[in-house]
Symmetry: C2
Subunit: 509 residues, 2 copies
C-alpha cells in the first residue's frame, strides 16, 4: 500500500500549498522512536540541555521571517500574532534552560542515617530522573508555542527526555521546518539529530502512544482525540502517563456590583478576549454569567458593539469552520436563546464572531441546553443572564473542569465585601487558574503559572505552561546506602553542583 | 438479596473468629462516600489536620494491646512484628503531621507582575489544594502500616482529603477497630466522623473507584487486582489518578568480587531478607544473580543454611498459601531448575521457606522460564547463576519495573573500581530505590524515601512511603491578579503563615 501524502493547505483559499511528505507507518514510527531512545544518553548533562534549548531559541529567531511566513500561510493567524507567538516560544525555551540550570526540579532530598527513627532510617538520597522518550501531540491553534518547539517539547528536553512529535495536520510544512531547526541546534551542540523526531498522520499518532519505548505523552487538542489517546495510553501492557489538555469552557461571573461600576469596560474586555485569535484559544471565555439588570444590559450592549466591530476571520481549517457553523446553529436554535450579534460563516471560508444569550435558569437543570455548557471552538460565547445569585451557584455546580474561571468584582467586593470570598471559593474547585477582574486569554510563561485543571481541562493534575511543566517527565529514584564514589554528583554531601536540596528535613540553597 | 456477611478468619486454624459486618452495596458505598465528601471542609485548616493525625497516633498507641492481639489473630504475623508495625504506623502519622505544619508540600510560588516578559507576566500566585475524597485499598501484608491507618490514609488526610478505605478481607476485624479509633480521634478534634469511612467487599471496592465524588485512589496489592481497578479508574467518564503498588521482583546482583569478599555474609543476609515476615513483603528479593563460581557456591551454601533454619510459617490466608505452593511447584518443574532447599506447604496450613537455582542463561531469552521473572508471594527466591557479566546485563534488560534493585559490591568496587558504576546505571532504570550492599526489606519512613517504581511496581511515578507521598492527593491552583483581601493567607505577600515559598524565582524560607 502506498503511503498517504501529507499536504500543506492554505485555509484562506482551501488550496494545497505543497506536498510535505508522507504519513508514517507503524514501522516508520518505530524507527523514529528508536532513534530518540538511542539519543537519550546525550541529554544526561544538564549543561548540554540548557545549551541546546538556548541554541534552539536562537536558531528559531534567526529563521523567524521564513517560519512566520510559512505559519501564516498554513494557519491564517496573521504575521503579528505569529511573530509574538514565536517570541513566546523562544522565551519559553530559554526559561526552561534557566529551570534546568537552577536545578530545583531535580527534587534532591538527602537523609543521613537515623537509628532512632521507627523503623531506623538508613542513608537515603533521592532525586528525579527522566522518564524516557516523550510523545508530543501538537496543537493546531498555536503552531509555535504548543507545537513542535512548544512547551511540551521544551519541558521534556529540559527534563532530559528525547521527544517524538506527532505533527498537527494543519501546519505540516511549518512542523517540518521547526523540527529541522531543532535538529540543527542539537547537532551544533554535538547531540544526535534523533533527539527530536517528527511523524505525520493519524495512524502514526496511534502507533506512537502504543510504542513500548515511549514513556510518556503530552497532548493539546480536542476532548475526543485526547480521550482516545488517553485511553490507549492507559490500556497499554505498561501504562504510561498521558498529560492531555482537552477542553475548557472557562466560565466568567460578573457580579451586579461589578456591572454597576464598569459595565462598558467589562463588555468591551469580553469582546476582545472572546474574539482574540478568531476565538481559537483554549482559554477563550465560553460562558459568561451576567446579571439580568439594566447594568447587565449595558454590559451586553457594550459586548455587542465590540463583537460587531470584530473583523471576520478564517479558522485553522475547513473542518473547524464546519463545526463552528454547525455548533453555533445548534445552540442558537434552543428555546430562550437569542443572538444579539449572530455568529456563523462569512463568505466561502470565513467566520464572523457573535454571541448568544440565554436565561441562566435554562442551565440549572440537565436538559437540551446542556450543549451550552460545552466548549464551542471559535469566536462565540454564551451570556447567561441571572436574576438571583443562587442561579450563579446552580450553574457553577453543573460545570465540568476548566483551565480557568474568572470573576469580575466591584472595588468594594475586591476588598472582601459581599460574597466575593464565597464566589472565589466556588470557582476554585472548577479550574486550574482563577482570575479576578481580568480575562483568561494570555497565558503567561512564569514559575507560578498553572495551565491545567480538573478533567476535561487536563487528564492529569499537571500544567503544560510554566516552570513546573517539567515535572511531568520525571520520576524519583532513591539511592540507599550507596558509597559516595558511586553517587551521582547531585546527591553527594559536598553538593558540587550547588543544587537547592532538602537535607535531613531542612531546605538548603 | 441479603448482604453477604464479612467474617474474620484465623489463618492458623482456618476457622471463623467473628462476624464483623456485611459487605457494602453500591448504594451503601455512596452513603459513606457522600459523608466523606461532606466532611471535606473540616480539613481545610492545616493545624486541625496535624492535630488530628497526632491524636490518631496517640489513640492507636493507647489501644495498642488489643489492636495487636486482633491483628495477630487475623494475620498470624506475630506480636513482635505487629507491635513494631504499629509503632511505624504511629510514627508515620506524626511524620505527616510535621509535613503538614512545615508547608513545603503546598508548593507556593508567587510571581509579581513583569511587563518585560514575553508575553507579560501578571500577578500569579500558585499553591496546591486537596483533590477531594480519596479511596484507599488496604493491603493484606501490613495490617497497620498499609491498611486503614497506613501511609495512603495518613498522606491523604495530611493533604486535606477525606478517606474511604476498602478494608482488606484478611483483617476485617482489625480494620473496623482501627477505623473506629480514627473516627474517635476525628470527633475529639471536632471533625465529623465521616472524614474516615470504611467499606467491606469486592463489589464495594469496584463501586468505590467508580463513584463520581471519589477524586483519587491509592492501592497496595496484586497486579491482577490493582490493574483491574486502575483500568476502572481510567475508564470513568471523569478519569481519576490511581496510585497503585502492584508487584515487584526486586532483583539483586552479587558481583564476583563481592562474593569473593563476603560470600557467607551475603548468603546469610539474603536468607534473612527473603524469609522475613514469611516472605510476604512487597520488597522481598525475588531474583538474585550470583556468580557461577566457587565463591558463588559458598554464598548459595550459606543461603541454604539460613533458609533451612527458618521456621515454618503461616501465610495471610489460604488462597495465598495455595498460590505459593502452586507457584513454587510450577517454577521447580522447569528444566535446569534445582531446589537446594525445597519451598512448599508444611502441614495443613503452614509453609516452609526455600529457594530455587537456575542457570542465568535460561533467563536471557523469552520462553517457559519467564515465570521465574514474575513475583511469587511468600518465602521463596530464585538464584540465577551467571558465568559472564554479560549474562547479568541480558537478564536485567528483560526485567519489568521494580520497587527496588540491589547490588552487592566488593570494597574496591564500592570505591568505583571495575564495572560498579555501570551496574548502578543499569539498575537505576529498573527501580524506584537502588541499594548498594544492603537488603530491600525494611522501608524507612523518611523525606528521601521513594517506595514506587516503573510499572508494575507502581501505576504512577509517585511514592506511597515518605514525605512526598502527600503529593499524590493535591493539584495546583493559580490565582491571577487577585486582590490581597481575597487571597488565601498562604499566598499573601506578608506570608503570615511563614511558609517556604518561591517568590519571583527565588526560594525563600
Amino acid at each position: 500500500m502506498e503511503a498517504a501524502p501529507v499536504w500543506s493547505v492554505d485555509p484562506r483559499s482551501g488550496k494545497r500549498r505543497e506536498r510535505v511528505g508522507v504519513e508514517a507507518s507503524a514501522g516508520e514510527v518505530g524507527v523514529v522512536v528508536r532513534a530518540a531512545w538511542e539519543a537519550r544518553g546525550s541529554l544526561v548533562d544538564r549543561g548540554v540541555r540548557a545549551g541546546f534549548l538556548r541554541g534552539a531559541a536562537a536558531l528559531l529567531e534567526a529563521s523567524g521571517d521564513v517560519l512566520v511566513e510559512v505559519a501564516d500561510a498554513e494557519t491564517a493567524l496573521g504575521g503579528v500574532r505569529l511573530r509574538g507567538e514565536l517570541a513566546r516560544t523562544c522565551y519559553q525555551l530559554r526559561a526552561f534552560a534557566d529551570v534546568v540550570e537552577e536545578g530545583s526540579f531535580l527534587g534532591v532530598i538527602i537523609d543521613h542515617p537515623d537509628a532512632a527513627a521507627t523503623p531506623p532510617v538508613p542513608d537515603l538520597r533521592r532525586f528525579k530522573v527522566p522518564l524516557g522518550v516523550v510523545a508530543v501531540y501538537a496543537a493546531s491553534n498555536f503552531p509555535f508555542a504548543f507545537s513542535v518547539a512548544g512547551g511540551d517539547t521544551a519541558s521534556a528536553l529540559a527534563a532530559g527526555c528525547p521527544v517524538v512529535v506527532k505533527a498537527h495536520p494543519d501546519h505540516p510544512g511549518l512542523s517540518e521546518r521547526v523540527a529541522a531547526v531543532l535538529r540543527r541546534a542539537a547537532v551544533e551542540r554535538g547531540l544526535p539529530a534523533g533527539v527530536v523526531g517528527l511523524v505525520h498522520g493519524f495512524e502514526a499518532g496511534v502507533a506512537l502512544v502504543g510504542h513500548p519505548l515511549v514513556a510518556a505523552a503530552g497532548f493539546t487538542g480536542s476532548v475526543r482525540g485526547g480521550r482516545a489517546l488517553f485511553d490507549a495510553a492507559a490500556a497499554r501492557p505498561v501504562p504510561i502517563p498521558f498529560h492531555g489538555e482537552l477542553g475548557s469552557l472557562n466560565p466568567v461571573v460578573v457580579t451586579q456590583a461589578a456591572a454597576s461600576e464598569r459595565a462598558e469596560e467589562i463588555g468591551a474586555g469580553l469582546a476582545g478576549s472572546m474574539t482574540l485569535g478568531v476565538g481559537q484559544f483554549c482559554v477563550k471565555p465560553g460562558l459568561v454569567l451576567v446579571p439580568a439588570s439594566p447594568e447587565g444590559d449595558r454590559l451586553v450592549e457594550a459586548l455587542a458593539g465590540g463583537v460587531a466591530r470584530a473583523a471576520a476571520g478564517v479558522l485553522l481549517d475547513g473542518r473547524m469552520r464546519d463545526n463552528f457553523v454547525a455548533g453555533v446553529a445548534e445552540r442558537a436554535a434552543l428555546a430562550g436563546v437569542e443572538c444579539p450579534v449572530v455568529p456563523g460563516g462569512e463568505g466561502e471560508r470565513g467566520v464572523r464572531a457573535g454571541f448568544l444569550t440565554v436565561p441562566a435558569g435554562r442551565l440549572t437543570e440537565p436538559g437540551a441546553h446542556d450543549v451550552l455548557l460545552e466548549e464551542c471552538f471559535g469566536p462565540v460565547t454564551v451570556v447567561a443572564r441571572y436574576g438571583d445569585p443562587a442561579e450563579v451557584d446552580a450553574v457553577l455546580a453543573r460545570l465540568p473542569g476548566n483551565l480557568t474561571a474568572t470573576v469580575h468584582l466591584s472595588a468594594g467586593e475586591s476588598e472582601g465585601q459581599g460574597r466575593a470570598g464565597e464566589l472565589l471559593a466556588r470557582l476554585t474547585p472548577l479550574a486550574g487558574r482563577v482570575l479576578v477582574n481580568g480575562w483568561p486569554t494570555g497565558v503567561a510563561v512564569a514559575p507560578a503559572q498553572h495551565h491545567g485543571g480538573p478533567y476535561p481541562a487536563t487528564t492529569s493534575t499537571s500544567t503544560s505552561v510554566g516552570a513546573t511543566a517539567i515535572e511531568r517527565w520525571l520520576r524519583p529514584v532513591t539511592y540507599q546506602h550507596t558509597p559516595h564514589a558511586l553517587l551521582p554528583p547531585e546527591l553527594r554531601d559536598d553538593n558540587p553542583l550547588g543544587l537547592p536540596r532538602r537535607v535531613n528535613g531542612r531546605l538548603q540553597h
